[in-house]
Symmetry: C2
Subunit: 396 residues, 2 copies
């Protein structure tokens, strides 16, 4: 886990996967199957090799196959990785220590890899994360609820994941940021593109204090199908999805239903029965989603990780196996009392944004707890007994 | 059923039960047990006889027993029945043709009898009834929802039952009345008392177009415990209870939970998560109640009578066994097209209020259907095939 925290050395598999993010559209299940059968290197070799080898790539017609081959021939993964690094971004893929293994639940629709802006460890963050999503054209009530929920969740040490859209998504990210909390934005475009334009400032803030991520390589623009397929990543990455406001047949309901199919918790915030922007949420609640009205109720539901985070989802680390930056933040916490961000940041000799990221990682691993505005060491830091304690507390 | 539609001849059992409504408080389970063990006549004889016989009345102390005996000695059931008849009221009790057998689900807490103002047959009305209840100090949103729901329910041929309180209850009754529909008010006082005072006019209107009923004999005043115990009658009488607005720990939640315990459907109308008057409803919805936002959704839930109206709940009548007044209204409906109230009323030679009552009875029995603002004969009126058809349509 420690080595992968920086920019990874581009091994053959990483290079091939970076290239494949230019070849396969998000959620392409044919591509996912080929990848599983041939491996990333094998698939790129087949796509860029002599045409007759492509007989192995079953399930699509000749014209579509030609499209894959054209894209593969144009891919320049070394350049993409270098550009990304220059823009402060990085690329992670299955097998790397930071890969959130929850995404494996997507089967052949699992992302080929993820491009990230921001420092925190996505794998540990995702362990204690909740998606807060909803309508773009939300009401003031909806925006208020999204912001309040997100603030409440981050105050209790949870990471708020959303899609950075106008309306509910933006309110959720802002609520998390404003309470000094952790938030991650999953985009339907390149992480350097920053869509919607009006949220460029917000995305910059999220990248500094949290994470901006997506499947699409640098420079990619969003399309309607990319929005829909982005939602499956939000659903799979998190423990549960809260829909704040949604009209009938809205994209947020797609995320929520996807979450339900993946065995994640699906939650909805009720609103007036007279509001068209609550109609979709009420439909969801009638279909079995859980009704929530505040952050405590959300955590009561997602906090029971027994069902949602099987043991395979991540290792439990002994203290001496922690990433050095995380270990430094952990050592900066005083014994026996909570400390504020500034104090921890000063003691650790690093910026508060970096400290926030590390604290949420440490929280996921069961080392620290949030208390009021500050953070404190968990009653007994894991070590010999780490396995059971951290598992119980959400760190497995 | 036909003979019991008027004022019953006071037989010994009816007289004893009328007397017992002065002796036993609503929901008194000791009294209910004695009644089951000794019969009404036997219980009254025991209470008014020599003290040593009261050894049979187990479960209460000597002081409380003396209280029962004092009340029994003062009861004047013949006078109560005569006063009631003079005020246009009547008394029904278990065993009478109009007794709603759903109330038997209350076991020993079943009402001893019911005092009624208004003409309709309670037994058939109750078969297709839904309770709409909620907060006294409701918001304009809550009042709007109660009124709209009640109007929608009555437009689809359902009877709206509530408690005649200020706020949601009143809005529900008004919504039903305003759409020319059927409504019943269950009071926690004598049906001649009319509480709350400010609803005297509304109660008069309900008694003309529908039913005002309660367990307490003429002249009785409401008390806090009587309100609570009244709620069990609303819950037991109806197929389901819809709570429109309710704060935490409100009386409407008691009705709803009682309904749940009795195997009735419990429903709630969502509202803003920020509204304290929706907090109780949301609590209920989190506890397993069904979320509803309009009358169609309510009927979708309560309309499946398979589970809720076991066969014992009432007889299916052949057309020639109908009450003569109901038969006259049925004959007044034209063949092959719907007719309005005025037309039916003219053809039947009776007032529209009487016609409304009879139409809802006929609806419960499967003879007629509501269509738009009017009523029409059901596609095939029950007769030889009445058993299965009426059962399927809600008339058993």
């Amino acid at each position: 886990m420690s080595a992968a925290a920086g920019v990874p050395e581009p091994g053959a598999d990483v290079l091939a996967r970076a290239a494949l993010t230019r070849v396969l559209e998000p959620g392409d299940e044919h591509g996912g199957r080929w990848l599983r059968e041939l491996g990333a290197v094998g698939l790129m070799r087949t796509l860029t090799g002599p045409g007759e080898e492509c007989a192995a790539l079953t399930g699509v017609g000749a014209e579509r196959l030609a499209g894959y081959r054209r894209r593969a021939a144009l891919a320049e993964p070394r350049r993409d990785l270098a550009d990304a690094a220059a823009a402060g971004c990085r690329f992670i893929c299955p097998g790397s220590a930071q890969w959130p293994t929850q995404l494996d639940d997507l089967g052949d629709a699992r992302p080929v890899g993820l491009w990230l802006r921001g420092g925190p460890d996505l794998r540990t963050w995702a362990l204690r994360s909740v998606a807060v999503v909803g309508a773009r054209a939300c009401t003031p009530y909806g925006a208020h609820m999204a912001q309040t929920l997100a603030a409440g969740l981050t105050e209790r040490g949870w990471v708020v994941v959303s899609g950075a859209a106008y309306g509910i998504d933006g309110a959720a990210h802002r609520g998390a940021l404003a309470s000094g909390g952790a938030t991650a934005a999953v985009l339907a475009c390149g992480v350097d593109v920053g869509y919607p334009r009006g949220h460029a400032g917000l995305l910059g803030r999220i990248a500094r204090q949290g994470l901006v991520l997506g499947e699409l390589p640098p420079g990619s623009h969003p399309t309607p199908s990319r929005f829909v397929l982005r939602n499956r990543v939000i659903a799979a990455l998190t423990r549960g999805t809260v829909v704040v406001e949604a009209a009938h047949r809205s994209g947020s309901l797609v995320t929520a239903r996807r979450a339900q199919q993946l065995g994640r918790l699906t939650m909805g915030v009720p609103g007036p029965a007279t509001s068209g922007l609550s109609a979709g949420v009420h439909e969801l609640l009638r279909g079995g989603a859980e009704l929530v009205t505040d952050a405590a109720e959300v955590i009561e539901l997602v906090g029971d990780i027994g069902e949602l985070a099987p043991a395979r989802r991540g290792p439990v680390l002994a203290r001496d196996l922690l990433d050095p930056d995380a270990a430094r933040v952990l050592e900066a916490l005083p014994a026996g009392r909570p400390a504020g961000l500034d104090e921890i940041s000063l003691a650790a000799g690093t910026g508060t944004d970096e400290v926030i990221g590390r604290l949420y990682e440490l929280h996921s691993l069961g080392f620290v707890e949030r208390q009021g505005d500050g953070w404190r060491l968990a009653p007994r830091t894991p070590g010999a007994g780490a396995q059971s304690r951290a598992a119980r507390r959400g760190g497995r």
